[in-house]
Symmetry: C2
Subunit: 330 residues, 2 copies
Amino acid sequence: MAITLAITDSDVRSAAQLIQGVAVRTPLLEYQPLNELAGRRVLVKFEGAQHTGSFKFRGAYNRLARIPKETRGSGVVAWSSGNHAQGVAAAAKLLGIPATIVMPSDAPSIKLENTRALGAEVVLYNRLTESREKIARELANLRGAVLVPSFDDPFIIAGQGTIGLEIIDQASKALAQVTQVLVCCGGGGLIAGIATAVKAAAADIDLYAVEPEGFDDTTRSLIAGKRQTVVPNATSICDALLTPSPGELTFPINQRLLSGGLVVTDDQVRAAMRFAFLRMKLVIEPGGAVALAALLAGVAPPAPKGGDMVVVVSGANVDPNLYAEIVAQR
Amino acid sequence: MAITLAITDSDVRSAAQLIQGVAVRTPLLEYQPLNELAGRRVLVKFEGAQHTGSFKFRGAYNRLARIPKETRGSGVVAWSSGNHAQGVAAAAKLLGIPATIVMPSDAPSIKLENTRALGAEVVLYNRLTESREKIARELANLRGAVLVPSFDDPFIIAGQGTIGLEIIDQASKALAQVTQVLVCCGGGGLIAGIATAVKAAAADIDLYAVEPEGFDDTTRSLIAGKRQTVVPNATSICDALLTPSPGELTFPINQRLLSGGLVVTDDQVRAAMRFAFLRMKLVIEPGGAVALAALLAGVAPPAPKGGDMVVVVSGANVDPNLYAEIVAQR
């Protein structure tokens, strides 16, 4: 039985038209020390340069801009550990839509502060005892607001997919022959969108989801052939990737299009962040560094037929104290 | 009496041809929070993405590639606090030329390590009691090697000027109307090269040299109309910009082409580095942050006729402990 996927590449192209001139076309960078370590050309898509410091603005803007003008006054509600919060807040501000974001009280303070600074109302909840989804749904019902999921939504997935279109175009201009793409994975919206765009352009490119140890639900789900949940009580410094299971919409896409999942440890993530500081001069947050970590730690599969690799760095909103500790190795 | 300047824009175009496909075409980035603070469009030329983490590779490669193949075996000698050292070492490695670099024993250890890792021989000297120029000249004479100055050389200046060509091209593609360019200034080679390229393309763009407090020799020289030296016993965290006076070749160019000099304090530099960490997700070293600091601190002159600004971020080789202290505000 053929499953109808939530989006096609034409949805991604539609999103690209909508965000053109609004979202940042982020750079695809190349570094000699990284090429030497990897033994091949590696191109780095740096979404730290995106509005609000992560890819989330793309999907948020594509979702919010589809809300009819006459209902925008009732606002939007979202829940997020931080990056989706900021992406929704920034998109809402641009479109003149009131935004309320439900965030865990232990989210990095930089993410709480930035969300408030973008004009959104922040409602805190206890990650261990309360359901953010329930709080958000009640708020949305109460206000007649639109609920904006962080990944399991066709417009969100398509918006994130615009990164894939840019990768194909920028890699071609850099005369690269891309055969593999590594992308971080929480709920799977980012890689589902990117895979949709990349596979439509070049079906022979392999895409891998990279997850932190203990949160390898997508990796295990791909092996099991059905959605699995994370290890109970697991912890990780990758606060952006602590999603309990693959999405209902994202998983079928990823199951169809991905070549597999890869898992990295927090120590490998720290090493990648420090490498990026020393050699690439880019600030990367833990969750944004897992794909780079997989490459540097030798977890990524070898190139099956030679060819170049793309690593997506998805975000850079890292707590200053944690970052200081990592770069100074204290 | 007309003074003949050391280079013209055709020398910069020649350098651009030579470094094409060898040096990194670094990105020109734009950030909404920076635009909002500045009240205008600001484009950031990020040379942290250049080989060895600073602009110095451009000039070094343009200089070393001009050495006839039959004399390359005798090697090159340079002196540098660190970025020129790495630039020369990387260019020498690519061209198969033995390199010896005379460096101060108190240079940031990251710069010493990186220079050695690029295969260069490092000779240390005491910055307070010895003359690096004398040591380097004696070494060069002894070995029959070519001395590679860090700024006062036509090929070095022209190589750095390739940044100016890229700025003009990238700003045009970004539909920006550039009216002002801020560039850090030590010996003045970077801004002399950039000004040569920019003024040839658009004579109405104003360029400003930005220097750290106590090392404002170019700013004062521009006012006095002749070369001045730095304040005795001055100190600054901007280790890349501690040059005692403008160059013999660079100053006449800067006198002809610049609109003036700007001066920033170490605290303003720290604030700019922290802003770049939080909002731009870029690692910047102190000397590379002075132009951004001038803009953020309100030291830059207002746009005379509206228009957009380009800020050159020249390098990113910062000591991890200093960086940790600055981002965590410890």
